[in-house]
Symmetry: C2
Subunit: 301 residues, 2 copies
């Protein structure tokens, strides 16, 4: 796959995800809740997690209808976490994806509820409407497995736990190992789960499953290392969110812990680990995953 083909592939997949989100995030949820939910998740972001789900599913020749559900679900979890993280009692951020954050636009109560409803909606999307199980496009065992992977990545042992460590780390220097543990949970777990959910939609054997797990873990850390580099070197208008925020908040980052040059070398080393994992996966259709690893490391926002 060359770069123009990859760009085309990305655009196609992003359009699929956008259309699915349009369908599943309800416009008619009561009392303005639907509007806040849609504002918080439609037309924004690179859709990196959905792309990882879909690429991993393709690499494993998996069930595309199930993967699209998984892609939407993981994006809903990501979007809910951004809404809650941005709130005044957490990071108190007013700008996200170049727009006012949800609580600025709709008020704190509606923002919290919209996040909660999106969190739940992820598990609605993954499972069959009760009574309509027979005609559903995803087998019951796969529904359960996708719920299990998504929940374990986003709860106390994953994203929410990482966020708790993050809150407690303000003004405390962390070792690289502590920083890695925090980010493995806070950002890495959901990126890894994206890859694993895609792989679960196929019939990945143990060797491919382990290799994709290694791949997902490497890009999960790389993503945060690059985030920290961009936060310290880019302007807000490029990032679409407030730059220098972690520094201002006295939060430890890979840049403050390792230094900028070492952080950059670390990101490249993680990219090589991700590529090496794909090479030993035995999967032939892993080109999109390889290029997504490059994208994670080379992106400028």
């Amino acid at each position: 796959m060359n770069l123009p083909d990859f760009d085309r592939w990305m655009q196609q997949q992003q359009a699929l995800v956008e259309a699915a989100l349009q369908t599943w995030v309800p416009a008619d949820a009561p009392a303005g809740l639907g509007a806040a939910m849609r504002y918080g998740v439609l037309d924004g972001g690179k859709r990196l997690r959905p792309l990882l789900v879909l690429a991993a599913c393709e690499a494993c020749h998996g069930l595309s209808a199930a993967a699209l559900r998984a892609a939407v679900a993981v994006e809903l979890i990501h979007a809910y976490s951004l809404i809650h993280d941005d709130m005044p009692c957490m990071d108190n951020d007013v700008l996200r994806r170049g727009k006012p954050t949800v609580h600025v636009q709709f008020g704190q109560a509606q923002a919290m509820l919209a996040g909660d409803a999106m969190h739940t909606l992820a598990f609605e999307v993954l499972t069959a409407e009760p009574g309509a199980e027979a005609a559903f496009d995803t087998p019951a065992a796969l529904q359960a497995r996708l719920c299990a992977l998504l929940a374990r990545a986003s709860g106390h042992d994953g994203m929410a736990g990482g966020q708790a460590i993050d809150l407690a780390s303000v003004g405390r220097p962390l070792t690289e190992a502590q920083l890695r543990d925090m980010h493995r949970r806070k950002t890495g777990a959901l990126l890894l789960a994206s890859v694993q959910m895609g792989a679960a939609c196929g019939q990945a054997g143990p060797q491919a499953w382990q290799a994709l797990t290694d791949y997902g873990a490497a890009i999960g850390i790389a993503f945060q290392v690059v985030d920290d580099i961009l936060d310290s070197t880019q302007e807000s208008c490029t990032l679409g969110k407030t730059a220098g925020k972690d520094l201002d908040n006295n939060k430890p980052t890979y840049v403050t812990t390792l230094g900028l040059d070492a952080a950059r070398r670390h990101a490249q080393a993680l990219r090589e680990q991700a590529h090496a994992a794909l090479a030993r996966s035995g999967l032939r259709a892993a080109a999109a995953l390889a290029l997504l690893a490059d994208l994670v490391v080379e992106r400028d926002h």
Copy 2:
């Protein structure tokens, strides 16, 4: 089943639920998150929703291990919703189950995160650890069905949607139909789902399923009618939460909409509907469900 037997049954089931919550809600979640989660859900409340799950499962001769998971999951969703609802941007309540609310005790950020982590944990409890599916106590199809029922009851079309209507209703008189729609979502949907999740753990046929659905819908509304009656007639120290709150906040209730006497008659009528539904269910072991309907209507806190 006579009343002493019912009391014994309740105590046994409550002890089972408490022990399961003790096991599943992690003490060691990072950075104080586990402590906030445990504070928010352990040793508090009547466990009405878990009791409904377990009683419905018994009535359908269902799989008790699955029902215990469902009982824990529904209580985690209920507890997370209380934590978020109590926060300053929502109802701003400082007392719950006779104790300071979670945000008073742990701060708003930790309270929001603890609620989020409990929300996710519900779906972890319902599903097998990836890789350990073969030895799991609940069949995959039932895992998926329980997730589907729980998610649909707690999202935009259920609890979260009802909460959005509730927020928007402050200072607005509602008709009885509007009030019923709000509470069907906000409180009723999760009570109904408790009954349905228990029924799903058995092999309820279509007749029993429909009757239990009617039963769950009736007690779902009855619960809120009685809540509104207690809120207007009881003291805070009996309720374990701030009394008169809805009146103070100028929120419509069954008492303000119907008047106190009509609200009391309505609660009794709903109890009779619940009993009638059980009578046509064809289930012989539904005594606990019948007594739980009485409990919902006769409780004083």
